[in-house]
Amino acid sequence: MRIALCLHAFPPQSRTGVETYTEALARALAGRGHDLHIFAPRRDDSREHLSQTSEEQKHYKITWLALGRDPDTGAERRARHGAAAAFGRFLDREQPQVVHFQHILKLGWELIDEARERGLVTVYSAHDPFPVTNDYTLLSADLSPLDPGDLVAAARNERALGLLDRAFEAHDGFLPPGCGDQALRREVERVLHGEVPGEKDRDDLTQAMARLALELDERRAAVSRCDRVEAPTAFLADLLGAQGLRAPVACRPCGHDVEHLSEVVAVDGQHQGPLRVLFLGGLFEHKGAHILLDALPLCAGQGAAGVALTLRGSRGSSDYGAHLASRAADLGATLGGPYERHELPALLAAADLVALPSIWPENAPFVIREAFAAGRPVIASDTPALRESVRDGVDGRLVDLGDAAAWAACLCELARDRDELAELCRGVRPPKTTAEDARELEQIYTDLAEHHSARRTRARARQPAHLAAFSQALEALEALPTGELVERALAGLAQLASRLGQQPMGLTQALVSAEGLRERLAARERTADWRAETERHGRAARADLRAGLADREQALSALEARQGQLSRELESVAGERDWLRRSSVDLQAELAWTGESLDDRRAHLTEAQARLRSADDGLQAALAERDDLCSALAQRESELRALRLDHAKRDESSSAHDELRRAYEPLCAAHEALGAAYNSLRGAHEALQLHESWLRGELLRVFEVVQNEDSGDCEASDEIESLVAQAFEGLQRWSTELDWRAGEMAAATEESQGLGARLLPSALQRRADSWRKPSRPSGEAPS
């Protein structure tokens, strides 16, 4: 696989972490059979600005991009105009399949798009928060923390750096502690944290913010367009995501080339000399070497065997290094210069532990892995990123950031307690190696390349089928390095020359015969310059526009807020109006309804009045009735009282009553007998009445016969007289019997009357009385 690694600097010109890591990675990947090509800029006044030179190294090839002049602006320090076009030519020339960006400082985000436009696999490894902030140490010029999302702070810091530019010939982005005059320090602090005095300053700040916002937006977007973005710590991955990087950021720790450190002898935990503390790294302000120097005097007199401090690293460009050297000399610490890779085992062998007193959040410092590879514990500042590398109390200690007293306490404790130091040494685990890293990356590159290939295949499949062969031929040619394309084209020209009957042209002849070539090349250079200038103007104009946009956005926000308020008020008023309208309608309806119902109510009133009168009458009647009832009640009450009395009396006479009852029972039997007798008499009486009726009828017929006899029928008169005589006899018998029976009845009645007077209720009495005067059937008694 052809792999290009692109970064901001490369050994031997620069040997800080990213450069060293990239160099080792290139070797490891080359060792796995890949073609490795490094693209990096370097300052080179001997060559044309932005020209490229290539060098073949043992394991890889380097193309240096010559930077021939100092950048004019901070923005140009971060992204040099023309670097992207040069990188495009590099890509065409070398035709890598994968471009892995390790850093784009000095080069610019446009490099990413150059790679993407060519359909190459792009990977971005974030070794710091540069994709989302220019102040990638997350510190301001006065070493105070800087929020990467705070554009105002970033713009202020840019102005403060301008002050440092003017005050110092060179600096590393910070006002070194203990350096610079007080007036400059006060001015830096005012610019960073104070009031912005005038309108012009405020305008400048606004414009700077707009410019920064644009620059960061473009960088964020370009990095997000990479096929893969990764960071070695979760802290950095989260930070990039939180600051608007749209691509997902994979957390994948880097590997380290530490084979040469595996033979470093273990720490002799029982040696009685001073605790040997080693600081390795750039002697820059944010690395915090001065914290260790501040801690040294505090260690004195704590009953420990003492602390021996050694500092090694390249000095920055500011006065900070000199300041450190002076203090180190005063405190008896050893301060050395930069070290080569082969010196590292000896340096670590002579140390009990490695100190990392950084005052910036850090990420995944390589020095920690180097220390671990040599079995040395690490005492580090307690930051979220470093917590991912150092396990407090296991393979090192974490100390409050920037707290010299805490550092002194920690170092003294380990100086006293060598068992604790030995325990920490035992807790150290070897770090991930570059070989492991290369294996992982190889797989990542392969997967991404396959994904790209599949995407290209899909894109081709969407084209009409007859284009497939042509598209494939085109892609095959596009994948050739520029040099091979030129060779093929020149060979093709030779063939064509013979075919067209022309003489093939050599390069010299072509150059000579092409009259306008130099002019055109010069014109192209001019065009490139013009384009760069135009881009600069364009950026400035865009920044101005952005500033104006920011102002307008602010005004718009205010207007929107006002509009919102007015809208709310309007809404409220509209609501009130609607409510009033509804109320009005309701009231009108109610009025109409009220009008209609008024008549009804009047009628109801009249009716109600009539009812009232009637009710009054009823009431009067009811009152009268009530009075009657009251009097009746009084009467009933008196009756009740009487009844109660009577009841009491009855209770008293209950025994007499029982006696009467016993007497009554035979009376009832007698009464029943009387009743039966009466019924018998009645039956007899009715029979007599019937007989009497019959007799009357017979008599009438007799009289008729008599009368008829008078008229001549004499023969029957004897018989009739006999019959009449018999009838009279019968009547006399019956009459006698009746008289007897009447006497019997009268006697019984008298007897029963005696009993009834005492025993029978009034009804029975009356009935008994009626027996004495029995009603007779109508009709004449027989004569």
């Binding site: 596009e478 394309l485 064509l496 090349l521």
Partner: protein, 317 residues
């Protein structure tokens, strides 16, 4: 005399576009009532149009290609199936105007012109850009390379040009809107050297012109070109550009008969190569290599371009 024609429309699977093209064509055919036929060549390769046409445009004949072949072969398939001697080749993003076929047939069949007329283009307008007609091309050599320019003539669409009552001579008839004879096309279809697309119609017209035939534009016949249905909308721009530039070179190599022009072209080409090499630019090198590869493929297939017998404009065979 009015003559029936076949309208041949090679089309991909854009039914909506095809429907918009067919409606005015069928209106025109119905109005002429001469027995014109409309043929759609289904070049989708998937038979996407057959059922659609049967359902929506039953009077249209469908010639189905079993695979996508591209414009030239698709047009050839349609012409082979055509019944009429005259055919109107048409892209589906062309909207024909009223009376177009009468005008074009009249111009094509005019017997007054020497050599006869090979092909006639209508006046092709771009909607919204009425001043920029596409159908008045001329061919020039600039910096050693053939370049197509579009002439700007003072004329009113739908009317005859006063200086050219029989039609305006042009360098070529647009392949996407031209009337020609079926026999001519079958005798010399578009040269497959120019596959996948572009410059094949220029080549055909230039060959005809070289043979003394006429190629004309009839401004009385007006069409609109909606720039939607062509292949350019379906493939990446760099692929289209590569096809155009590859064919520009092939066209030059085929048609530059004049030895001075040929020398100028070769020198210019050599210079370009050197310039590209020095400037580390690649595009033109790739175009050149694509052209050379195609030429080589033709050599190997025994279809070499007869450069030694090439003819130039105005040089009758």
């Amino acid at each position: 005399m009015k003559t029936p024609i076949s309208i041949v429309i090679p089309s991909l699977a854009d039914r909506e576009l095809l429907a918009m093209a067919l409606t005015p064509v069928l209106d025109e055919v119905q109005g002429r009532a001469l027995g014109d036929e409309v043929i759609v060549v289904d070049d989708s390769g998937s038979g996407a149009l057959e059922e659609f046409l049967a359902h929506k445009f039953a009077s249209v004949r469908c010639v189905k290609n079993s695979q996508n072949l591209g414009f030239g072969p698709a047009l050839l398939a349609g012409v082979q199936a055509a019944r009429c001697e005259l055919f109107f080749a048409m892209n589906p993003d062309i909207r024909v105007g009223p009376g177009i076929f009468d005008c074009l047939t009249e111009t094509l069949l005019a017997e007054t012109l020497p050599g006869g007329v090979y092909a006639v283009s209508p006046y092709v307008l771009l909607p919204g850009k009425e001043a920029a007609a596409e159908s008045l091309p001329e061919l020039v050599q600039e910096g050693g390379f053939p370049v197509i320019r579009h002439r700007q003539l003072e004329l009113t669409p739908g009317e005859t040009h006063p200086d050219h009552p029989a039609g305006i001579p042009v360098a070529f008839a647009l392949g996407g809107a031209m009337l020609m004879r079926r026999s001519d096309f079958l005798e010399r279809p578009f040269d497959p050297l120019f596959e996948p697309f572009y410059w094949e119609d220029v080549d055909a017209s230039q060959v005809a012109l070289a043979a003394g035939r006429q190629v004309l534009c009839d401004p009385r016949a007006v069409v609109e070109h909606h720039l939607r249905g062509t292949i350019a909308s379906r493939v990446p721009e760099r692929v289209v550009r590569a096809a155009i530039e590859k064919n520009r070179l092939l066209f030059a190599w085929k048609h530059l008969a004049d030895s001075d022009k040929r020398r100028q072209h070769f020198e210019a080409l050599s210079t370009r190569v050197v310039e590209q090499a020095l400037a580390e630019e690649r595009e033109e090198l790739i175009w050149l290599l694509l052209a050379l590869e195609q030429l080589q493929a033709f050599d190997q297939a025994g279809q070499a371009i007869p450069i030694d017998r090439i003819v130039g404009p105005g040089t009758p065979r």
